[in-house]
Amino acid sequence: METINTEMMVQIVDKMGDIIIENEVYFCELDSVAGDGDFGMSVAKGFRQLKTDWEELAKDDIGAFLKDAGMVITEYCGGASGPIWGSAFRAAAKSARGKSEITVAEFADMLEAAVAGIQKRGNAQLGDKTLLDALIPTAVAWRDAAEQGLDAIAAMDAGAKAARDGAEKTKSMTANKGRASYVGERSLEHPDAGAMALGVIFTELHRFVAG
Protein backbone atom coordinates (compact mmCIF):
# COMPACT_ATOMS: atom_id res chain seq x y z
CA MET A 1 0.00 0.00 0.00
CA GLU A 2 1.78 3.13 -1.27
CA THR A 3 -0.83 5.76 -0.35
CA ILE A 4 -3.81 6.19 1.94
CA ASN A 5 -7.06 7.35 0.38
CA THR A 6 -10.12 8.94 1.93
CA GLU A 7 -11.93 5.64 2.35
CA MET A 8 -8.93 4.12 4.08
CA MET A 9 -8.58 7.14 6.37
CA VAL A 10 -12.26 6.92 7.30
CA GLN A 11 -11.77 3.25 8.14
CA ILE A 12 -8.67 4.01 10.18
CA VAL A 13 -10.48 6.61 12.28
CA ASP A 14 -13.44 4.27 12.67
CA LYS A 15 -11.13 1.52 13.88
CA MET A 16 -9.33 4.00 16.13
CA GLY A 17 -12.68 4.67 17.82
CA ASP A 18 -13.21 0.93 18.35
CA ILE A 19 -9.79 0.55 19.93
CA ILE A 20 -10.34 3.51 22.25
CA ILE A 21 -13.78 2.36 23.31
CA GLU A 22 -12.55 -1.20 23.95
CA ASN A 23 -9.70 0.12 26.04
CA GLU A 24 -11.71 2.71 27.97
CA VAL A 25 -11.28 1.07 31.36
CA TYR A 26 -7.62 0.23 30.76
CA PHE A 27 -6.89 3.82 29.77
CA CYS A 28 -8.65 5.03 32.91
CA GLU A 29 -6.53 2.73 35.01
CA LEU A 30 -3.38 4.11 33.41
CA ASP A 31 -4.52 7.59 34.47
CA SER A 32 -5.33 6.48 38.04
CA VAL A 33 -1.82 6.08 39.30
CA ALA A 34 -0.78 9.71 39.11
CA GLY A 35 -3.69 11.35 37.32
CA ASP A 36 -7.38 11.51 38.10
CA GLY A 37 -8.42 8.30 36.41
CA ASP A 38 -10.70 9.71 33.73
CA PHE A 39 -8.53 9.64 30.63
CA GLY A 40 -10.16 6.57 29.04
CA MET A 41 -13.60 8.00 29.65
CA SER A 42 -12.69 11.42 28.32
CA VAL A 43 -11.35 10.13 25.03
CA ALA A 44 -13.94 7.37 24.59
CA LYS A 45 -16.72 9.87 25.07
CA GLY A 46 -15.62 11.88 22.06
CA PHE A 47 -15.14 8.86 19.84
CA ARG A 48 -18.47 7.44 20.87
CA GLN A 49 -20.09 10.68 19.80
CA LEU A 50 -18.12 10.46 16.56
CA LYS A 51 -19.79 7.13 15.86
CA THR A 52 -23.21 8.61 16.66
CA ASP A 53 -22.60 11.49 14.24
CA TRP A 54 -20.82 9.25 11.71
CA GLU A 55 -23.30 9.64 8.86
CA GLU A 56 -23.16 13.42 9.05
CA LEU A 57 -19.37 13.71 8.86
CA ALA A 58 -18.06 14.99 5.51
CA LYS A 59 -16.32 12.22 3.59
CA ASP A 60 -15.44 14.31 0.51
CA ASP A 61 -11.75 14.23 1.17
CA ILE A 62 -9.32 13.47 3.97
CA GLY A 63 -9.08 17.10 5.12
CA ALA A 64 -12.84 17.63 5.26
CA PHE A 65 -13.36 14.36 7.10
CA LEU A 66 -10.67 15.04 9.70
CA LYS A 67 -11.98 18.57 10.25
CA ASP A 68 -15.49 17.38 11.02
CA ALA A 69 -14.13 14.62 13.21
CA GLY A 70 -11.94 17.18 15.00
CA MET A 71 -14.92 19.39 15.75
CA VAL A 72 -16.84 16.53 17.38
CA ILE A 73 -13.77 15.53 19.35
CA THR A 74 -13.21 19.11 20.51
CA GLU A 75 -16.76 19.33 21.75
CA TYR A 76 -17.21 15.89 23.25
CA CYS A 77 -13.87 14.67 24.56
CA GLY A 78 -13.70 15.57 28.22
CA GLY A 79 -11.02 17.37 30.19
CA ALA A 80 -7.63 18.06 28.70
CA SER A 81 -8.25 15.47 26.01
CA GLY A 82 -10.81 17.61 24.16
CA PRO A 83 -8.44 20.40 23.18
CA ILE A 84 -5.44 18.06 22.80
CA TRP A 85 -7.06 15.49 20.53
CA GLY A 86 -9.30 18.09 18.94
CA SER A 87 -6.44 20.37 17.94
CA ALA A 88 -4.44 17.36 16.74
CA PHE A 89 -7.25 16.33 14.40
CA ARG A 90 -7.94 19.85 13.23
CA ALA A 91 -4.28 20.56 12.56
CA ALA A 92 -4.01 17.28 10.67
CA ALA A 93 -7.11 18.28 8.72
CA LYS A 94 -5.52 21.54 7.67
CA SER A 95 -2.43 19.71 6.49
CA ALA A 96 -4.52 17.29 4.40
CA ARG A 97 -6.99 19.89 3.17
CA GLY A 98 -8.51 18.96 -0.20
CA LYS A 99 -6.54 15.74 -0.51
CA SER A 100 -8.30 12.48 -1.25
CA GLU A 101 -5.11 10.47 -1.19
CA ILE A 102 -1.90 10.99 0.80
CA THR A 103 1.58 9.55 0.59
CA VAL A 104 3.72 8.37 3.47
CA ALA A 105 5.52 11.75 3.36
CA GLU A 106 2.19 13.58 3.48
CA PHE A 107 1.10 11.38 6.36
CA ALA A 108 4.32 12.43 8.13
CA ASP A 109 3.40 16.09 7.40
CA MET A 110 0.03 15.46 8.95
CA LEU A 111 1.51 13.94 12.10
CA GLU A 112 3.92 16.83 12.45
CA ALA A 113 1.01 19.24 12.08
CA ALA A 114 -0.84 17.36 14.79
CA VAL A 115 2.16 17.67 17.10
CA ALA A 116 2.36 21.39 16.42
CA GLY A 117 -1.38 21.75 17.07
CA ILE A 118 -1.10 20.03 20.41
CA GLN A 119 1.90 22.12 21.36
CA LYS A 120 0.18 25.35 20.42
CA ARG A 121 -2.65 24.48 22.81
CA GLY A 122 -0.84 22.69 25.61
CA ASN A 123 2.65 24.06 25.49
CA ALA A 124 4.38 20.77 26.28
CA GLN A 125 7.77 19.55 25.02
CA LEU A 126 9.33 16.17 24.47
CA GLY A 127 10.16 14.80 27.91
CA ASP A 128 7.26 16.47 29.68
CA LYS A 129 5.61 13.07 30.16
CA THR A 130 2.61 13.60 27.92
CA LEU A 131 1.32 11.81 24.88
CA LEU A 132 3.75 13.91 22.85
CA ASP A 133 6.46 11.56 24.08
CA ALA A 134 4.77 8.90 21.95
CA LEU A 135 3.45 11.10 19.14
CA ILE A 136 6.67 12.97 18.32
CA PRO A 137 8.69 9.75 17.87
CA THR A 138 5.86 8.40 15.72
CA ALA A 139 6.02 11.44 13.47
CA VAL A 140 9.79 11.05 13.27
CA ALA A 141 9.42 7.38 12.35
CA TRP A 142 6.98 8.24 9.55
CA ARG A 143 9.35 10.91 8.25
CA ASP A 144 12.20 8.36 8.25
CA ALA A 145 9.99 5.81 6.53
CA ALA A 146 9.14 8.34 3.83
CA GLU A 147 12.79 9.13 3.30
CA GLN A 148 13.60 5.43 3.12
CA GLY A 149 10.76 4.91 0.64
CA LEU A 150 8.86 2.46 2.81
CA ASP A 151 5.19 1.84 2.10
CA ALA A 152 2.32 2.90 4.39
CA ILE A 153 2.05 -0.44 6.18
CA ALA A 154 5.75 -0.53 6.98
CA ALA A 155 5.56 3.10 8.09
CA MET A 156 2.67 2.26 10.35
CA ASP A 157 4.68 -0.55 11.84
CA ALA A 158 7.65 1.70 12.50
CA GLY A 159 5.37 4.45 13.85
CA ALA A 160 3.68 2.06 16.28
CA LYS A 161 7.02 0.78 17.52
CA ALA A 162 8.23 4.34 18.04
CA ALA A 163 5.06 5.15 20.00
CA ARG A 164 5.48 2.10 22.24
CA ASP A 165 9.15 2.90 22.88
CA GLY A 166 8.31 6.54 23.59
CA ALA A 167 5.57 5.56 26.00
CA GLU A 168 7.97 3.18 27.76
CA LYS A 169 10.41 6.02 28.29
CA THR A 170 7.79 8.12 30.07
CA LYS A 171 8.14 5.74 33.00
CA SER A 172 11.39 7.34 34.05
CA MET A 173 10.14 10.90 33.67
CA THR A 174 8.65 13.06 36.39
CA ALA A 175 5.63 14.74 34.91
CA ASN A 176 5.75 18.43 34.12
CA LYS A 177 2.51 18.95 32.27
CA GLY A 178 -0.97 17.77 33.11
CA ARG A 179 -2.21 16.45 36.38
CA ALA A 180 0.56 13.94 36.95
CA SER A 181 2.75 16.93 37.75
CA TYR A 182 0.78 17.41 40.96
CA VAL A 183 2.14 14.24 42.46
CA GLY A 184 5.73 15.12 41.46
CA GLU A 185 8.25 12.39 42.20
CA ARG A 186 5.43 9.94 42.85
CA SER A 187 4.71 9.75 39.13
CA LEU A 188 8.14 8.19 38.56
CA GLU A 189 8.00 4.50 37.54
CA HIS A 190 4.54 5.00 36.06
CA PRO A 191 4.12 5.68 32.35
CA ASP A 192 1.97 8.52 31.03
CA ALA A 193 -1.56 7.42 30.23
CA GLY A 194 -1.86 9.34 26.97
CA ALA A 195 1.47 8.10 25.65
CA MET A 196 0.68 4.49 26.53
CA ALA A 197 -2.68 4.85 24.83
CA LEU A 198 -1.06 6.01 21.60
CA GLY A 199 1.24 2.96 21.72
CA VAL A 200 -1.80 0.70 21.96
CA ILE A 201 -3.77 2.58 19.31
CA PHE A 202 -1.01 2.70 16.71
CA THR A 203 -0.13 -0.96 17.29
CA GLU A 204 -3.71 -2.08 16.82
CA LEU A 205 -4.12 0.15 13.77
CA HIS A 206 -1.07 -1.40 12.13
CA ARG A 207 -2.44 -4.87 12.79
CA PHE A 208 -5.77 -3.74 11.29
CA VAL A 209 -4.26 -2.25 8.13
CA ALA A 210 -1.80 -5.07 7.67
CA GLY A 211 -4.85 -7.33 7.78
Binding site: D36, D38, P83, G122
Partner: protein
Protein backbone atom coordinates in the same frame (compact mmCIF):
# COMPACT_ATOMS: atom_id res chain seq x y z
CA UNK B 1 -19.87 1.87 44.55
CA UNK B 2 -23.12 2.81 46.26
CA UNK B 3 -24.31 6.21 45.14
CA UNK B 4 -27.67 7.93 45.21
CA UNK B 5 -27.83 8.37 41.43
CA UNK B 6 -29.50 6.86 38.41
CA UNK B 7 -26.53 6.35 36.14
CA UNK B 8 -23.17 7.99 35.60
CA UNK B 9 -23.96 9.18 32.06
CA UNK B 10 -26.96 11.31 32.98
CA UNK B 11 -25.59 12.34 36.37
CA UNK B 12 -24.42 15.87 35.61
CA UNK B 13 -27.54 16.89 33.76
CA UNK B 14 -29.83 15.41 36.42
CA UNK B 15 -27.86 17.13 39.13
CA UNK B 16 -28.05 20.48 37.38
CA UNK B 17 -31.76 20.08 36.78
CA UNK B 18 -32.26 19.11 40.42
CA UNK B 19 -30.41 22.25 41.39
CA UNK B 20 -32.42 24.49 39.08
CA UNK B 21 -35.68 22.97 40.37
CA UNK B 22 -34.59 23.72 43.92
CA UNK B 23 -33.68 27.34 43.18
CA UNK B 24 -35.92 28.58 40.38
CA UNK B 25 -35.62 32.15 41.63
CA UNK B 26 -31.83 32.17 41.27
CA UNK B 27 -30.81 29.73 38.56
CA UNK B 28 -31.60 28.74 35.03
CA UNK B 29 -30.01 25.66 33.50
CA UNK B 30 -29.23 25.55 29.79
CA UNK B 31 -28.93 21.88 29.06
CA UNK B 32 -27.39 21.97 25.58
CA UNK B 33 -24.05 23.28 26.83
CA UNK B 34 -24.54 22.58 30.53
CA UNK B 35 -24.53 26.21 31.55
CA UNK B 36 -25.91 27.20 34.93
CA UNK B 37 -26.99 30.79 34.38
CA UNK B 38 -27.86 33.50 36.84
CA UNK B 39 -31.48 34.62 36.60
CA UNK B 40 -31.79 38.31 35.73
CA UNK B 41 -28.20 39.53 35.94
CA UNK B 42 -27.48 43.22 35.52
CA UNK B 43 -27.06 44.03 31.83
CA UNK B 44 -24.19 46.48 32.12
CA UNK B 45 -21.79 44.85 34.55
CA UNK B 46 -18.68 42.80 33.91
CA UNK B 47 -19.69 39.17 33.32
CA UNK B 48 -18.03 36.55 35.51
CA UNK B 49 -17.71 33.02 34.17
CA UNK B 50 -16.20 30.12 36.04
CA UNK B 51 -16.66 26.39 35.90
CA UNK B 52 -14.73 23.22 35.48
CA UNK B 53 -15.34 19.57 36.00
CA UNK B 54 -18.35 18.50 38.05
CA UNK B 55 -17.94 16.67 41.33
CA UNK B 56 -17.00 19.80 43.29
CA UNK B 57 -20.54 20.67 44.40
CA UNK B 58 -21.67 23.20 45.47
CA UNK B 59 -18.99 24.53 43.10
CA UNK B 60 -19.43 25.95 40.64
CA UNK B 61 -23.15 26.30 40.06
CA UNK B 62 -23.73 27.05 43.75
CA UNK B 63 -21.82 30.30 43.32
CA UNK B 64 -23.97 31.65 40.52
CA UNK B 65 -26.09 34.58 41.61
CA UNK B 66 -26.13 38.08 42.96
CA UNK B 67 -22.68 39.18 44.03
CA UNK B 68 -20.81 36.25 42.50
CA UNK B 69 -20.88 34.45 39.13
CA UNK B 70 -23.05 34.92 36.06
CA UNK B 71 -22.41 31.47 34.60
CA UNK B 72 -20.94 28.20 35.78
CA UNK B 73 -19.88 25.99 32.88
CA UNK B 74 -20.32 22.37 33.97
CA UNK B 75 -18.01 19.69 32.68
CA UNK B 76 -18.36 16.00 33.31
CA UNK B 77 -17.12 14.65 36.60
CA UNK B 78 -13.56 15.96 37.07
CA UNK B 79 -13.28 16.82 33.37
CA UNK B 80 -13.01 20.37 32.10
CA UNK B 81 -15.97 21.58 30.09
CA UNK B 82 -15.23 21.69 26.39
CA UNK B 83 -14.10 24.70 24.43
CA UNK B 84 -17.52 24.82 22.76
CA UNK B 85 -19.31 24.92 26.10
CA UNK B 86 -17.19 27.76 27.41
CA UNK B 87 -17.49 29.63 24.11
CA UNK B 88 -21.26 29.45 24.32
CA UNK B 89 -21.19 30.72 27.89
CA UNK B 90 -19.20 33.76 26.78
CA UNK B 91 -21.36 34.51 23.77
CA UNK B 92 -24.68 33.98 25.60
CA UNK B 93 -23.87 36.50 28.33
CA UNK B 94 -22.05 39.18 26.38
CA UNK B 95 -22.33 42.73 27.78
CA UNK B 96 -20.49 45.90 26.84
CA UNK B 97 -18.48 45.70 30.04
CA UNK B 98 -16.61 42.58 29.00
CA UNK B 99 -16.13 39.11 30.45
CA UNK B 100 -13.76 37.72 33.06
CA UNK B 101 -12.99 34.00 33.00
CA UNK B 102 -11.99 32.63 36.39
CA UNK B 103 -9.92 29.58 35.51
CA UNK B 104 -8.46 27.04 37.85
CA UNK B 105 -4.89 26.29 36.87
CA UNK B 106 -5.38 22.81 35.36
CA UNK B 107 -4.20 21.94 31.90
CA UNK B 108 -7.67 20.89 30.77
CA UNK B 109 -9.41 23.99 32.05
CA UNK B 110 -6.70 26.27 30.75
CA UNK B 111 -6.75 24.81 27.26
CA UNK B 112 -10.52 24.86 26.95
CA UNK B 113 -11.12 28.28 28.49
CA UNK B 114 -8.27 29.84 26.50
CA UNK B 115 -9.40 28.34 23.22
CA UNK B 116 -12.94 29.56 23.92
CA UNK B 117 -11.68 33.05 24.77
CA UNK B 118 -9.74 33.17 21.48
CA UNK B 119 -12.85 32.17 19.55
CA UNK B 120 -14.99 34.80 21.28
CA UNK B 121 -12.40 37.52 20.79
CA UNK B 122 -11.53 36.64 17.21
CA UNK B 123 -14.99 35.75 15.91
CA UNK B 124 -17.28 37.87 18.08
CA UNK B 125 -15.14 40.82 19.20
CA UNK B 126 -15.93 40.19 22.86
CA UNK B 127 -13.49 41.58 25.40
CA UNK B 128 -12.36 38.61 27.47
CA UNK B 129 -9.98 38.74 30.44
CA UNK B 130 -8.66 35.72 32.29
CA UNK B 131 -7.31 34.95 35.73
CA UNK B 132 -5.79 31.67 36.86
CA UNK B 133 -6.41 30.50 40.42
CA UNK B 134 -3.46 28.57 41.82
CA UNK B 135 -3.81 28.48 45.58
CA UNK B 136 -2.83 24.87 46.28
CA UNK B 137 0.56 24.97 47.97
CA UNK B 138 0.89 21.18 47.96
CA UNK B 139 2.45 21.47 44.53
CA UNK B 140 5.82 23.08 44.18
CA UNK B 141 5.66 26.07 41.91
CA UNK B 142 8.55 25.87 39.51
CA UNK B 143 9.51 26.63 35.95
CA UNK B 144 9.34 22.95 35.22
CA UNK B 145 5.76 22.24 36.26
CA UNK B 146 2.42 23.59 35.12
CA UNK B 147 2.36 25.36 38.49
CA UNK B 148 -0.06 25.07 41.32
CA UNK B 149 -3.63 23.89 41.11
CA UNK B 150 -6.60 26.07 41.81
CA UNK B 151 -8.71 24.69 44.64
CA UNK B 152 -10.95 26.14 47.38
CA UNK B 153 -9.39 29.60 47.08
CA UNK B 154 -11.52 29.97 43.94
CA UNK B 155 -14.51 30.65 46.18
CA UNK B 156 -12.89 33.84 47.46
CA UNK B 157 -12.00 34.86 43.91
CA UNK B 158 -15.63 34.38 42.86
CA UNK B 159 -16.88 36.27 45.91
CA UNK B 160 -14.60 39.27 45.71
CA UNK B 161 -14.50 39.65 41.94
CA UNK B 162 -18.28 39.18 42.02
CA UNK B 163 -18.67 42.02 44.50
CA UNK B 164 -16.46 44.28 42.41
CA UNK B 165 -18.42 43.47 39.25
CA UNK B 166 -21.69 44.08 41.06
CA UNK B 167 -20.31 47.43 42.20
CA UNK B 168 -19.93 48.43 38.55
CA UNK B 169 -16.15 48.25 38.33
CA UNK B 170 -14.51 47.97 34.90
CA UNK B 171 -13.13 44.76 33.46
CA UNK B 172 -9.61 45.93 34.28
CA UNK B 173 -10.55 46.73 37.87
CA UNK B 174 -12.42 43.48 38.41
CA UNK B 175 -9.54 41.54 36.90
CA UNK B 176 -7.06 43.37 39.12
CA UNK B 177 -8.93 42.64 42.32
CA UNK B 178 -9.42 38.99 41.28
CA UNK B 179 -5.66 38.80 40.75
CA UNK B 180 -5.09 40.42 44.13
CA UNK B 181 -7.12 37.64 45.76
CA UNK B 182 -5.15 35.03 43.84
CA UNK B 183 -1.89 36.59 44.97
CA UNK B 184 -2.99 36.44 48.60
CA UNK B 185 -4.79 33.12 48.91
CA UNK B 186 -3.23 29.76 49.79
CA UNK B 187 -4.70 26.34 50.47
CA UNK B 188 -3.59 22.90 51.59
CA UNK B 189 -5.70 19.77 51.93
CA UNK B 190 -5.63 16.16 52.97
CA UNK B 191 -7.80 13.13 52.34
CA UNK B 192 -8.96 10.50 54.81
CA UNK B 193 -10.51 8.44 52.02
CA UNK B 194 -10.42 8.39 48.25
CA UNK B 195 -13.43 9.41 46.26
CA UNK B 196 -15.11 7.18 43.71
CA UNK B 197 -15.63 8.60 40.23
CA UNK B 198 -19.12 7.36 39.25
CA UNK B 199 -18.17 6.25 35.75
CA UNK B 200 -15.25 4.26 37.10
CA UNK B 201 -17.09 2.80 40.07
CA UNK B 202 -14.12 2.05 42.30
CA UNK B 203 -12.03 4.33 44.53
CA UNK B 204 -9.17 6.13 42.79
CA UNK B 205 -6.75 5.09 45.54
CA UNK B 206 -6.89 2.95 48.66
CA UNK B 207 -6.01 4.16 52.14
CA UNK B 208 -5.63 2.04 55.23
CA UNK B 209 -7.41 2.92 58.48
CA UNK B 210 -4.21 4.52 59.74
CA UNK B 211 -3.24 6.48 56.63
CA UNK B 212 -4.07 9.78 55.00
CA UNK B 213 -3.00 11.40 51.74
CA UNK B 214 -1.52 14.81 52.42
CA UNK B 215 -1.54 17.52 49.78
CA UNK B 216 -4.45 16.30 47.70
CA UNK B 217 -6.27 18.39 45.15
CA UNK B 218 -9.96 18.26 44.35
CA UNK B 219 -9.94 15.61 41.63
CA UNK B 220 -9.30 12.59 43.74
CA UNK B 221 -5.69 12.44 42.61
CA UNK B 222 -3.37 11.07 45.26
CA UNK B 223 -1.61 13.76 47.30
CA UNK B 224 2.07 14.54 47.52
CA UNK B 225 2.71 12.16 50.42
CA UNK B 226 1.06 9.33 52.26
CA UNK B 227 1.19 9.88 55.99
CA UNK B 228 0.11 8.33 59.24
CA UNK B 229 -3.30 9.55 60.43
CA UNK B 230 -2.99 12.32 62.97
CA UNK B 231 -5.21 14.21 65.38
CA UNK B 232 -7.10 17.33 64.32
CA UNK B 233 -4.66 19.44 66.33
CA UNK B 234 -1.62 17.91 64.65
CA UNK B 235 -3.10 18.25 61.18
CA UNK B 236 -4.02 21.87 61.91
CA UNK B 237 -0.47 22.56 63.01
CA UNK B 238 0.97 20.96 59.89
CA UNK B 239 -1.39 22.84 57.57
CA UNK B 240 -1.04 26.22 59.25
CA UNK B 241 2.75 25.93 59.38
CA UNK B 242 2.95 25.23 55.66
CA UNK B 243 0.45 27.95 54.76
CA UNK B 244 1.98 30.59 57.01
CA UNK B 245 5.43 30.07 55.52
CA UNK B 246 4.22 30.17 51.97
CA UNK B 247 2.80 33.64 51.42
CA UNK B 248 4.07 34.28 54.13
CA UNK B 249 1.36 35.08 56.64
CA UNK B 250 2.83 36.92 59.61
CA UNK B 251 1.82 38.00 63.09
CA UNK B 252 -0.54 40.93 62.81
CA UNK B 253 -1.99 39.83 59.48
CA UNK B 254 -5.74 39.63 59.20
CA UNK B 255 -7.09 36.69 57.28
CA UNK B 256 -10.22 35.02 56.05
CA UNK B 257 -10.17 31.29 56.84
CA UNK B 258 -12.01 28.57 55.00
CA UNK B 259 -12.26 25.10 56.49
CA UNK B 260 -13.50 23.21 53.48
CA UNK B 261 -14.88 19.68 53.57
CA UNK B 262 -14.24 17.44 50.57
CA UNK B 263 -17.75 15.99 50.51
CA UNK B 264 -18.02 13.15 52.98
CA UNK B 265 -16.66 14.89 56.06
CA UNK B 266 -19.35 15.69 58.63
CA UNK B 267 -19.72 19.30 59.74
CA UNK B 268 -18.99 18.08 63.25
CA UNK B 269 -15.43 17.25 62.27
CA UNK B 270 -15.01 20.46 60.28
CA UNK B 271 -15.92 22.52 63.33
CA UNK B 272 -13.55 20.53 65.54
CA UNK B 273 -10.88 21.18 62.92
CA UNK B 274 -11.73 24.88 62.80
CA UNK B 275 -11.20 24.99 66.54
CA UNK B 276 -7.73 23.47 66.05
CA UNK B 277 -6.85 25.81 63.16
CA UNK B 278 -8.11 28.87 65.01
CA UNK B 279 -5.86 28.13 67.95
CA UNK B 280 -2.86 27.54 65.68
CA UNK B 281 -3.41 30.89 63.99
CA UNK B 282 -3.84 32.60 67.36
CA UNK B 283 -0.48 31.19 68.45
CA UNK B 284 1.13 32.79 65.40
CA UNK B 285 -0.58 36.10 66.07
CA UNK B 286 -2.62 35.86 62.86
CA UNK B 287 -6.03 37.41 63.33
CA UNK B 288 -9.13 35.71 61.94
CA UNK B 289 -11.42 38.32 60.43
CA UNK B 290 -13.90 35.95 58.83
CA UNK B 291 -14.46 32.19 58.77
CA UNK B 292 -16.25 29.81 56.43
CA UNK B 293 -16.75 26.21 57.56
CA UNK B 294 -18.48 23.74 55.28
CA UNK B 295 -18.47 21.95 51.97
CA UNK B 296 -17.45 24.66 49.51
CA UNK B 297 -15.20 22.90 47.00
CA UNK B 298 -15.54 19.17 47.19
CA UNK B 299 -14.21 16.06 45.52
CA UNK B 300 -17.30 13.88 45.27
CA UNK B 301 -17.45 11.59 48.31
CA UNK B 302 -13.91 12.11 49.50
CA UNK B 303 -13.48 12.46 53.26
CA UNK B 304 -10.97 15.07 54.29
CA UNK B 305 -10.59 18.79 54.44
CA UNK B 306 -8.58 21.74 53.25
CA UNK B 307 -7.56 24.96 54.94
CA UNK B 308 -7.52 28.17 52.94
CA UNK B 309 -6.10 31.44 54.17
CA UNK B 310 -6.69 34.75 52.42
CA UNK B 311 -4.70 37.76 53.57
CA UNK B 312 -7.02 40.73 53.79
CA UNK B 313 -6.69 44.46 53.34
CA UNK B 314 -9.45 47.02 53.54
CA UNK B 315 -10.45 46.62 49.89
CA UNK B 316 -10.73 42.84 50.16
CA UNK B 317 -12.59 43.09 53.47
CA UNK B 318 -15.15 45.42 51.96
CA UNK B 319 -15.77 43.19 48.94
CA UNK B 320 -15.89 40.11 51.17
CA UNK B 321 -18.61 41.73 53.26
CA UNK B 322 -20.64 42.89 50.25
CA UNK B 323 -24.09 41.32 49.79
CA UNK B 324 -24.17 37.92 48.16
CA UNK B 325 -27.13 35.70 47.46
CA UNK B 326 -26.26 32.40 45.83
CA UNK B 327 -27.22 28.83 46.59
CA UNK B 328 -24.01 28.07 48.45
CA UNK B 329 -23.04 31.44 49.85
CA UNK B 330 -25.40 33.94 51.41
CA UNK B 331 -23.86 36.71 53.45
CA UNK B 332 -20.32 36.07 54.68
Amino acid sequence: MKKLINNPESLVVEMCEGMAYAHPDKLEFKKRHKLMMRKNPAKDKVVLISGGGSGHEPAHAGYVGEGMLDVAVCGDVFASPSTIQVYNAIVDTETDAGTLLIIKNYSGDIMNFEAAAEMAEDDDDIKVAKVYVNDDIAVKDSLYTVGRRGVAGSVYVHKIAGAAAEAGKSLEEVTAVAQKVIDNVKSIGFALTSCTVPAKGTPTFKLEETEIEFGVGIHGEPGVARQAMKSADELAEECVDLLAKDLPFNAGDEVAVMINGFGATPLQELYVFNNSVYRQLAEKGIKVHNTLVGNYMTALDMAGASVTLLKLDDELKAYLAAPVDTVALKGV
